[in-house]
Symmetry: C2
Subunit: 578 residues, 2 copies
């Protein structure tokens, strides 16, 4: 990972590329690299779909090594959804492959001078940038199938569907999984629209002939990785809950906690929750010959994913995540797992963020376009997005635009990005993260649910404002650092409860790079990433006024606890005082 | 004007009202009152369509008196279009009538608990608030006709069309003119959407039995008014240009100056300009039995309006303003005056801002929805807005939403509000006003065109950045003060060139109120209004980053001068340093 591949899509005569040494970006990776580079090189007031924005794909510090769980990819840019900085994080194979190819990052720059659509093929021999207009408006599934036929079964793809080509603000970038399916998405913030604006349909990566990245201190690294694996396997969440039921194990948990946003954040409990819970989902998957325990990338030992077959036992989609099941399920009053799985498949194929899409549909239902619970209507709406009809243009640009178009007041967004599957009134810690994260409403930016609801890393009463700012602050710092390592965020459960597992992670990094980092250094890294992100956002015009929840969370009480969001503005403004 | 009529649309059991003394708001009026009240009483982060927003209708200091040109109405609220504070200003009869009824303001507060649509009738005997769902989705023309049948020919109406009921961000509030037609609009910033959110279709005003407001010092007032009238009549713009050809006299002028934004701000000159110029328009109006010189309210002596008949000599619309002719004309490549007049009529009837609507259509044409110059397509698009189709929901929410929906980069907005009919590259002074006005892009907020192009109030080279900040600053201050007086902004031409006419205005105010204000007091008033507005916007999250033009004005040169916007960010940030 000693070079950065810069591809200028706007060069005269067609795209050009150059692989340059990492230079000033040496020693940073993942979100650390995407956010630093975007913050340094992208003018904060540029049009996100214009020539001045840059799209950065960066594997983490430990990606491409044998370190377990190290396969996450960071995708960064100025977000067309929020107008601020964005790091969207994905599993799948791309990160490992990119790292083994020796790239610390691919950076797409400029803007094509014509309407051509490009595919790229990158392997040990170099880079090919090829016009291929036959790919226009292909869904991700057909697209990657075509790429595998052309470039072989072992490639990893990063691609956009029709939504990305139409530059919709909910457009995702799909990364292929171990089976070569486009199921793992850098979903949030419209990164797919930026790829579409660069005229790039797919980047095909092939690491044939490359080897694992090798550590400076192999013994130390290997030994630490063993402790690391043991630590993850012994924690109840990463060793048992997630493998057995996947992230959707949370449906029953959040519903029980009264924090499961139902009918566009009207209530905290959903009548149909058992029909769409992780437990039910796992049973259906196993019964139909799919799988309830499956990894999304090589080196995953948690294996929180799965394979969802349709009624006829035919592959439909990967196991939908908790947030997806919620967004299309309880949020829209839908309790039909097959319909939700179909929506997940369509989202992956058209290339849209499942959270944003579910939130848009929820807002549209509130506006009266369909009844809550109408699964057929929801499926049709996603098709409208994929086809780019006028309604699709509204929905596909996210919940905020949908709310604007239909004059809906209850629009659950922060910085224009839709809230995920935890009501901030019943889980006040996550409310602090939603409000203040530079990313907009984002559960992964500081997952206070862990401590508020799962009692991981201690206990902080989810219904009280007390302690939430400190909790969110610490988690946001830790998360920024984890997102720089290429580690799956779920390792946080283990390291929050088990200091020795956190130490194993630090030891792995030190063993790999020949460093002597301490826990304090990790904290400093997280802070520096957040600072770069907030600096960018300040330049883009964000102030404390943007670090707020929509007023209905402050004014309207959420059943069953009948609770409002109670963390004060003054306290929110202290999150980044460290 | 010693009382404020506060109407609570959200009261239990239906709307209630109370007339309260002006109290702390004594001595301020027009934009001074709307902006002060909104800044004091509306939470800057509230949802603009929610219960916490307030819609304020305020006549000016001299409205309802015999003072010539004093019939302007200020309408204020938090804008659904910009998210900041808004004062939209309209001619027509409402301001005079409201003032004679003794109201310094009507304030619509709260939010109805049901879906009923209300009409209000206000006369010397009091206030009636009546549910009338038969008015739902009526166009403004049918609506006011119905009101005149019900309440008599002499009433003045303030009303919304279907766009306001659908709470679109381009929705206007129509004020009836001297003929009782809904042709004078508080157009900008979506004030009609706020009226729609309050559930109010129309406010019918009847000043029968009321008299002119009487001055404290009748002699001084009368004598000053005489000097005032003389001053306005002797200035070439207010005495000759505007009466003869209306505001559309500017088409040829701006085209000649190379500052006439054509095809969505692609060029500075329009081939078809002579076909749609004020000179041509006046000839058509006279030829068809309309009128080219007509006032919009009692007491107007400039009479810049007119009556536009269709080919068959039947009334079609009032004389479309320059900005309207531009927005639907050159901006969309349309050179057909009858089509433009029809678009003006439809805008007035559906109740949308002509500038925002023309800009939305221009952006849609850039996106390829129709060809530039296709008048039928443009007319159809406005019908889509009026019908509230999905396309209409996009267009009707303004140019920024349209740009978002169709991923257009060239979107000529500041603070989400569409730019009017002067390209800021060829008229750099107006660019400073667009960028920095608390209202968003707004030519009326500091009409630097006067000095840049018309050489009124001195000369400042329109193509140079030099002197533009000072020019815009002084004009923004003066305009805020004028907007508080109820005076038509066109009096600015006379007072900028003729100190004695400015003195006559001050003497009128002093004669009316028994005061001893000086020119410095007027400046202080303007500054205090701007400060209140900027304070609100700061609370709503606006920073210097929002005081910027879209990047294409900085990056792309405008033919024929091949000039970019050259005022630096640093200079823009000094506009409000006084």
């Amino acid at each position: 990972m000693e070079k950065i591949l810069r591809i200028n899509m706007g060069a005269d005569g067609g795209p050009t590329y150059t692989a340059v040494p990492v230079g000033a970006y040496a020693g940073i990776a993942g979100r650390g690299l995407t956010s630093t580079l975007v913050s340094k090189e992208v003018p904060p007031l540029c049009h996100p779909l214009g020539a001045d924005n840059k799209l950065v794909f960066a594997p983490g510090l430990l990606s491409g090594t044998v370190a377990a769980m190290s396969g996450r990819l960071s995708v960064g840019c100025k977000s067309p959804l929020t107008g601020g900085i964005k790091e969207a994080n994905a599993g799948g194979m791309a990160s490992q492959v990119l790292a083994r190819l020796g790239y610390a990052a691919i950076v797409l720059e400029g803007k094509p001078k014509d309407d051509n659509l490009y595919k790229m093929f990158i392997n040990k021999d170099g880079v090919k940038i090829i016009v291929d207009n036959s790919l226009k408006m292909l869904g991700n599934y057909d697209l990657v199938e075509k790429m595998r036929r052309e470039f072989g079964d072992k490639v990893a793809c990063m691609s956009i569907g029709p939504a990305g080509e139409m530059k919709m603000s909910s457009a995702s970038i799909a990364c292929t999984d171990m089976e070569g399916r486009p199921t793992r998405h850098a979903g949030r913030g419209g990164v797919g629209a930026v790829m579409g604006a660069k005229g790039v349909k797919v980047i095909v990566l092939d690491d044939s002939g490359m080897t694992m990245r090798s550590p400076k201190d192999p013994e130390k690294f290997k030994e630490a990785n063993k402790r690391w694996v043991d630590g993850i396997k012994k924690h109840p969440v990463t060793g048992e809950g997630l493998p057995a039921y996947g992230t959707n194990v949370l449906t029953n948990v959040l519903n029980e906690a009264g924090g499961y946003p139902t009918h566009n954040f009207m209530w905290g409990r959903f009548e149909g929750h058992t029909k769409i819970s992780g437990e039910t989902q796992a049973a259906v998957e196993v019964e139909r010959g799919g799988s309830a325990t499956h990894g999304c990338h090589r080196g995953c030992i948690i294996r929180c994913s799965g394979i969802y077959m349709d009624k006829y036992g035919k592959y439909l989609t990967k196991q939908p995540e908790y947030e997806t099941v919620w967004a299309h399920g309880g949020n829209c009053g839908i309790d039909d797992l097959d319909a939700i799985a179909m929506l997940d498949r369509l989202d992956d194929d058209y290339g849209v963020d499942t959270i944003e899409m579910g939130a848009s549909i929820g807002v549209a239902m509130e506006a009266g376009l369909a009844k809550f619970g109408d699964a057929d209507a929801a499926i049709n709406m996603v098709h409208e997005v994929g086809k780019g009809t006028y309604l699709g243009r509204i929905l596909g640009n996210g919940a905020a635009v949908t709310g604007k178009a239909f004059a809906v007041e209850r629009v659950p967004v922060v910085k224009n990005q839709a809230m995920p599957a935890y009501d901030p009134r019943a889980v006040q810690g996550i409310g602090v993260t939603y409000a203040t994260s530079p990313m907009g409403a984002d559960h992964t930016a500081g997952y206070a649910v862990a401590t508020n609801i799962l009692n991981v890393g201690g206990q902080v009463n989810p219904l009280s404002p007390d302690g939430q700012v400190e909790l969110s602050r610490n988690l946001q710092i830790a998360t920024a650092a984890i997102d720089a390592t290429g580690m799956c965020l779920f390792i946080a459960f283990a390291i929050m409860d088990q200091p020795e597992t956190f130490q194993a992670l630090i030891d792995m990094i030190n063993g790999f790079y020949g460093l002597n980092l301490t826990a304090e250094d990790v904290t400093a890294l997280g802070k520096s990433i957040l600072k770069a992100e907030r600096d960018f956002n300040t330049g883009a015009g964000f102030t404390a006024a943007h670090d707020r929840l929509p007023e209905f969370f402050i004014n309207d009480a959420l059943p069953p606890h009948n609770i409002k969001f109670k963390v004060t503005d003054e306290d929110l403004d202290t999150v980044f005082n460290w």
